[in-house]
């Protein structure tokens, strides 16, 4: 069974540019999450999709970040325009059910460097 896959694995862009990160969850997983780790700090929650709907986007830092999950399959996270403080590792995770003792499956992350 394929796991959660993220593209690209690394991205280096200049301040002011736009970057789009993609996450393909495990097939059939309705729940999709984005997390990020900035500059060696703790990993922080960004948002949660249930199918194509945003269930919780309380962790999104500002309106430069836009997450979509059209059709309830893969998701994209766009940063426009990117700032230096956006550098970090962006993780995607998916699960079959919501809550309880449901296990989260994480991708290996996208390392974003904004210069």
């Amino acid at each position: 069974e394929a796991g959660v896959t993220q593209f690209p694995s690394h991205s280096v862009i200049e301040k002011g540019q736009t970057v789009t990160l993609r996450c393909d969850p495990i097939s059939g997983h309705d729940n999709l999450y984005w997390y990020r780790r900035v500059m060696g700090k703790e990993i922080k929650f960004l948002l949660h999709f249930v199918k194509e709907s945003k269930q919780d986007e309380s962790g999104m830092p500002n309106n430069r970040f836009l997450a979509e999950r059209t059709g309830g399959t893969y998701s994209t996270l766009k940063v426009q325009p990117a700032e230096l403080e956006d550098s970090g590792v962006y993780f995607c995770a998916s699960s079959l059910y919501r809550g309880g003792s449901e296990k989260l499956f994480f991708g290996s992350g996208t390392q974003l460097s904004v210069l």
């Binding site: 949660h48 919780d56 993780f91 989260l104």
Partner: protein, 113 residues
């Protein structure tokens, strides 16, 4: 609010010796606690989880953790370290609905020959 504190940012052990990675939690009610591990260039992997069924939780690769309410701790242990255990370990608490998780700052485990 629920949170976790990992007491050591780096831990170094010799191969074959015990591993202890410390985590304290803060919660107003019985928490759901987890340990995740990240090996270099890999995704986060669930080691074990505590959801109030048993205070001693056994995980993968010989790791286990004990939930101690009186000490608000959830330390991760392994009797004998292996070189392949070298990785970063995260203590995690579920906060809010769904699988919204709050991570600790991570402990980098180094295993030396």
């Amino acid at each position: 609010a629920q949170s976790v504190t990992q007491l050591d940012s780096h831990v170094s052990v010799s191969e074959g010796t015990p591993v202890l990675l410390r985590c304290n939690y803060s919660s107003s009610y019985s928490p759901s606690l987890f340990w995740y591990v990240q090996h270099p260039n890999k995704g986060l992997q669930l080691l074990l989880k505590y959801t109030s069924a048993a205070t001693l939780v056994k995980g993968i690769n010989g790791f286990e953790a004990e939930f101690k309410k009186s000490e608000t701790s959830f330390h991760l242990t392994k009797p004998s370290a292996h070189m392949s255990d070298a990785a970063e370990y995260f203590c995690v608490v579920r906060t809010g609905g769904g699988n919204k998780l709050t991570f600790g700052t991570g402990t980098q485990l180094k295993v030396e020959l």
